[in-house]
Symmetry: C2
Subunit: 305 residues, 2 copies
């Protein structure tokens, strides 16, 4: 087994995690979480989404969040955009990198973005070019790479073709998303290797949901394929867009704890992340599925015998 010496995590809790919450999280609470995540050592944080507030009310304060970000040159703050308007808002808010996202399954594209995939790809290319014209770099996220309705139902040639087309435009990075948590280690190896073969030096990111409990196992396989960048979410916040209330992303603190134990440096203090997670749980009066923040809480309540 060969693992990298260093792994880079992008915290997506403030976007992918928060957006699934029905209760509006006050902007200052969002900013507090972002501050604490940065202080914990996260060096890339996806802080909001530039979507219409009617669609995702939780993200209605995108501008206020961007305006309140801590002044730290050591942390890259990014935001998600799903159309040209979103790209322009990201630029207007001073972001250096905008995260874009696109369906890879035609049925999904029609259901979710209300357009056939060909049209979505053309729009995606226009978004990358617009971001670049505005002086930003772009990450492109390919959604449901490992399955939409059923595991593996997104055709590999489709994913590979899209990866090649977007990589050619000069991306900051290309993210492969297991939006539905359907991947398994065999699928990860097959699809990551197929994409690696066509994207040249474009850095790959894996965005793994833990819907079925295989997120960490999938990360282990991706690490062995040479992937060193992952999206993670504090406390494992987040959801599955197709199954309300299902588990979210792999948890930042659990991921950090395991990677560090295995000798891979992350630069992140898992305890500090876990404490931020416990604060968010208190704000929202609910519990998220990550393990380490819960262990930290229980250890405080009841010291080990």
């Amino acid at each position: 087994m060969s693992f990298p010496d260093r792994v880079h995590l992008c915290e997506v809790g403030p976007r992918d995690g928060f957006q699934f919450e029905d209760t509006f999280i006050p902007t200052d609470r969002k900013l507090e979480a972002i501050d604490r995540l940065a202080a914990a050592g996260l060096r890339r944080i996806q802080v909001t989404s530039f979507v219409h507030p009617d669609w995702v009310p939780q993200m209605a304060d995108a501008e206020a969040v961007c305006a309140g970000l801590p002044t730290r040159s050591d942390v890259l703050f990014t935001g998600l955009a799903l159309n040209l308007k979103g790209v322009e808002r990201a630029s207007a808010n001073g972001l250096e990198v905008v995260d874009l996202s696109i369906a890879t399954h035609d049925t999904h594209s029609r259901a979710n973005a209300n357009m056939p995939l060909d049209e979505a790809i053309a729009q995606g290319e226009a978004m990358v070019k617009r971001a670049q014209a505005l002086g930003m770099q772009a990450q492109m996220n390919l959604q449901t790479v490992f399955g939409y309705r059923d595991p593996g139902d997104t055709p590999i040639p489709h994913v590979v073709d899209m990866a090649r087309r977007f990589a050619r435009l000069g991306l900051e990075s290309l993210a492969l998303s297991d939006s539905t948590g359907m991947a398994d280690p065999v699928m990860i190896r097959e699809r990551v290797e197929a994409v690696q073969a066509v994207v040249g030096d474009t850095p790959l990111v894996l965005h793994l949901h833990d819907t079925r409990g295989s997120g960490i196992a999938n990360m282990m396989t991706a690490l062995q394929c040479g992937v060193t960048r992952f999206d993670t979410s504090m406390a494992g916040m987040g959801g599955c867009p197709f199954i309300h209330g299902a588990a979210g992303n792999i948890a930042t603190e659990d991921t950090v704890h395991l990677l560090e134990q295995m000798g891979m440096a992350t630069g992140i203090d898992w305890r500090a992340v876990a404490e931020a997670s416990l604060t968010i749980e208190r704000v929202l009066r609910k519990r998220f599925p990550g393990k380490l923040h819960r262990l930290l809480q229980r250890a405080a309540e009841q010291p080990v015998a």
Copy 2:
């Protein structure tokens, strides 16, 4: 990546899961769960523990559970014993295989079994011999193989020596337990290979707790080391003896779902296990950490859009 064609799961929920519950589960509810697990395709189920009821009140009905087991020649029902008295009770209850368990860390042995490790090993050997004299086969479980207080603090030479000594006695199987959920894939490979080198044909079983979220990843590595037998627990029930309320074993239904998706046959219907899990949750009015039973429940409440 090389995976076996077939994987054998032993359901430990009715013992390792139930014993952590403060609310006494009525015997007929226990038997109903066991029946349903057998009907779901589990071919080995650890149904109880022969411990003193003052110590584990949940297991006070061990005799009644054994008396009420379904008559099925295709399912092996086992029980756990921690001393000679327990071995004798297992035999008196007609079990063909008794599961034994022993500490591997001296501090743990003194704290938990109230005896130094040397004495515990001698007692363990006496238990195996007594079981055999009574016409039973014995599985020996080595506890905290991957860490007791800290990851890896159980010395490998210690574990290897104990594995060799017990294997020589002619075990039905040898189980390596990550009782504290501290293992990681690197540790799994190192320790499984070290044990495999000294136990000859003795079948190995891995008993993995998911305390820190790495249980499924650890199983994936063990599979690649050639291990084909795992203990799992319905709904991921169970706990960590040192951290009250921490996550339990890897969940049977999640494990089955993933293995089958990857092409490994288990003979188990994950949906039937998940339905049994939902019933136990209703009996206990609580939720366990497994994922698939929750997805099944949510899909019933809110069909996929």
